[in-house]
């Protein structure tokens, strides 16, 4: 088992730590142990690293460092944005607009708001997997207090028209949150061009460590805290800052900024190589969602008549790490809500796989993956394991 060559095609789940990032993190872990709130030398050293990382991250998204709030990850950033923005409104009736293809971190936070009496509209998307800004306009109500639309979708890679939606939001005077976790490092992110008020980020999707994220909060945006404690992060996220992880996030951001164009070109070429080969060599297979307007690294493909769960296992045993379109971990039986939202029947949704490429992938790995896919699909179709 351990003798097989392994290649990793699941970078939307998480990425390996970049060597430069690892170096920053380890040196910080060993040396910068002060509490960034302490007055003394050790505290000041930690504070310096913290603020450097804040500047590095802010620069990547063209924000002001004072607008960056570090969190314990992307999920926490989404929760803080959605819950914090809505709870900051003192209105008696409150309404939020989101989409049917959000990450669970936004979906579940919206469900929590509903339990608190907030009305929530979930916008449908067409087969392209892209939200129509006019739908946002039509969903607006006098009591709308938040619009939350993800920037890039984690399963399809489709990019949402955030800039257009922000013009609608601004006209209506409603704050706009975008979950940018899957966009950062893959496409250019400029919070001013996008016009967002809140924007969620996560380090481990850009070759940084797990357990650290950030929320961009445009100056003047009202946000109620969701956790309570000390006065860290401008009272928005209490708790002693995880300085080594945050410093590593900063290093990952610098790297992402330097490599953005080269990475995008490299990944798009590999992604297209993968898709073209699959479409050419495997019949009854295709691409889910729009092939345009998507992040360069993500391909979501269906293989009719094949059980995606079985495919993931078969490919893993051959050394290829991919993931299903369907959530199949312990406890879930429903096919992916994203694939269902773009109109896939449950059979095709269960026959879908997500391939998300990253810096370390090579053309040779992609070619080997396609060979393995061809074999596995043929084998599964032959024994007719139905999805």
């Amino acid at each position: 088992m351990n003798s097989v060559q392994r290649s990793y095609f699941d970078h939307n789940a998480t990425t390996p730590l970049a060597p430069e990032v690892l170096e920053t993190m380890v040196s910080c872990l060993g040396q910068v142990y002060g509490n960034a709130s302490s007055i003394h030398y050790f505290g000041q050293a930690a504070k310096q690293r913290l603020e450097q990382a804040r500047r590095e991250l802010a620069q990547l998204i063209h924000a002001n460092p004072t607008e960056m709030v570090f969190t314990g990850g992307g999920t926490e950033a989404d929760n803080l944005a959605v819950l914090g923005a809505v709870r900051a409104s003192a209105q008696a009736d409150r309404h939020a607009i989101t989409t049917a293809i959000e990450h669970p971190a936004v979906m579940a936070a919206c469900a929590q708001l509903e339990r608190e009496g907030v009305a929530v509209t979930r916008l449908a998307v067409g087969s392209s997997g892209v939200v129509d800004p006019d739908d946002v306009r039509r969903a607006l109500r006098p009591d709308t207090v938040l619009i939350s639309v993800m920037h890039a979708n984690n399963e399809l890679g489709t990019i949402q028209p955030i800039a257009e939606i922000s013009r609608i939001a601004r006209e209506a005077g409603v704050p706009l949150h975008a979950d940018g976790v899957q966009a950062l490092g893959k496409i250019r992110v400029d919070v001013n061009e996008l016009g967002v008020d809140l924007y969620s980020l996560s380090a481990h999707k850009i070759y940084g460590p797990k357990g650290v994220g950030a929320l961009y909060v445009r100056k003047g945006t009202r946000l109620a805290p969701v956790t309570f404690g000390g006065h860290h992060e401008r009272d928005r996220r209490p708790g002693t800052e995880n300085v080594p992880a945050i410093a590593a996030f900063g290093a990952a951001a610098v790297l992402a900024g330097q490599r953005l164009d080269a990475d995008a070109e490299h990944l798009a070429a590999l992604r297209d190589r993968l898709e073209c080969a699959v479409l050419e060599r495997i019949h009854s297979a295709g691409v889910n969602g729009s092939r345009w307007k998507r992040t360069p690294n993500t391909a979501n493909l269906y293989f009719d008549g094949v059980d995606g769960e079985a495919m993931v296992i078969a490919l893993d045993l051959r050394g290829f790490a991919v993931s299903t379109g369907a959530a199949c971990s312990s406890g879930a039986i429903t096919p992916s809500h994203v694939l269902t939202a773009i109109g896939l029947g449950s059979e095709r949704a269960r026959a879908s796989l997500r391939f998300s490429l990253g810096r370390s992938n090579t053309a040779a790995q992609v070619d080997a993956l396609v060979d393995a896919l061809e074999l596995s699909v043929a084998h599964l179709r032959r024994i007719s394991v139905h999805a």
Partner: protein
């Protein structure tokens, strides 16, 4: 690829963990898989008492299975068959109770999930054989050209009663490494191999029903499906047709049951039968539970090809029953068998299995009509 791996169904219990570890120790390539069959977070009203410990598909069981797989260094996956389990095991289980039968979901699970869906998954990942922790033995008999099923060496643990539905194709690809061992030996082996689950308790009979309270499960399930459990309310009548009282639903009763009838007469009363048509529960004296024969439907033959003439066999009519001598006779229908007991048997219960043995050999079995 190297040698085709063996897919081991790992439940997180001591038996299947020992199977995985044994096969790995023998040098086989192994793929461990845990079947996620039922979401224990469903029907939350049932969760309050049990707490989830020791029930199938709890996160603890997956944790244990994963831990063992890590310990013995084999690839491990959780495969989700909840959809199939609900369709092919839970729904028939509920329907049987509502129809006045007493079902055995484990047999359905073996027939349609463990030795069907799981085997398909094994195929899918390139495994030729599958192995489980069942206490039973499979043997190929060259003379008849058939795969035979035999009772486990440890008669107190023998699980062949639940395996009567296995086809020749399924048996040809199945390994039961524990069939030759006693439970004590299995625990000792688990201990000697340092398995984390060596001292774990045995699982319950019906994995998705907390604390064995199937009536509470049925009520909760019916409520979730929008059905009123009270709709199966009806009268309790004597075998003589006398109305003795009311009951809260036929699914609370099973043939042979004595407790919980809620009617008092001079002598102890037992459930003799239930009639789903009139929703009535028929009660009577202990002797009235005795039956001299039974008809089994959907019979599956294992160690023999079928019946051409009456043969002698021992027939087991529930898991805890000591198989009783009987004569099996063919009927006009090859899928049906009539068994005439040498001595009348207590509580021949529709919905349970009738499994035919000849000594340690399992000839076949069917469902009691």
């Amino acid at each position: 690829m190297p040698e085709a791996p063996i897919a081991v169904a790992m439940s997180g219990g001591v038996d299947s963990s020992t199977v995985a570890a044994l096969l790995a120790r023998q040098g086989h390539a192994i793929v461990g898989m845990t079947m996620q069959l039922w979401n224990q977070r469903r029907l939350p009203e049932l969760a309050a008492e049990g707490g989830g410990a020791g029930r199938c598909c709890s996160l603890d069981d997956v944790y244990d299975a994963r831990r063992v797989a890590g310990q013995i260094g084999v690839p491990y996956y959780v495969v989700n068959f909840e959809r199939q389990f609900e369709e092919q095991v839970v729904k028939p289980f509920v329907a049987d109770y509502l129809a006045g039968r007493t079902p055995i979901p484990c047999t359905l699970c073996n027939n349609y999930i463990k030795f069907d869906r799981f085997l398909e998954m094994a195929d899918a990942v390139g495994a030729r054989m599958m192995a489980t922790g069942h206490y039973a033995r499979v043997r190929y008999d060259a003379a008849s050209g058939r795969y035979q099923l035999l009772r486990a060496v440890d008669s107190s643990k023998d699980q062949t009663y639940f395996l009567f539905g296995l086809t020749q194709q399924q048996l040809a690809r199945t390994l039961f490494p524990l069939g030759e061992l006693t439970k004590t030996e299995v625990r000792e082996l688990a201990q000697s191999m340092g398995l984390a689950v060596a001292a774990k308790g045995d699982s319950q009979e019906i994995c998705f029903v907390p604390n064995g309270d199937y009536a509470a499960f049925l009520s909760a399930y019916l409520k979730e499906s929008g059905m009123e459990a009270g709709a199966t309310r009806g009268p309790i009548v004597s075998t003589g047709g006398q109305r003795l009282g009311e009951h809260a639903g036929v699914h609370h009763f099973t043939v042979g049951q004595r407790r919980g009838l809620g009617v008092a007469t001079g002598e102890p009363l037992y459930v003799i039968s239930t009639d789903p048509r009139t929703q009535s529960v028929v009660v009577g004296r202990k002797e009235e539970l005795l039956r001299g024969d039974l008809q089994a439907r959907e019979v599956n033959w294992i160690s023999i090809a079928g019946l051409t003439e009456p043969i002698r066999a021992e027939v087991k009519i529930r898991n805890k029953h000591a198989a009783a001598p009987a004569t099996l006779g063919p009927t006009g229908d090859p899928k049906r068998v009539r068994a005439i007991f040498d001595d009348p048997q207590r509580a021949v219960t529709p919905g349970q299995g009738a499994v035919f043995y000849s000594g340690e050999l399992v000839l076949g079995g069917g469902w009691i009509e």
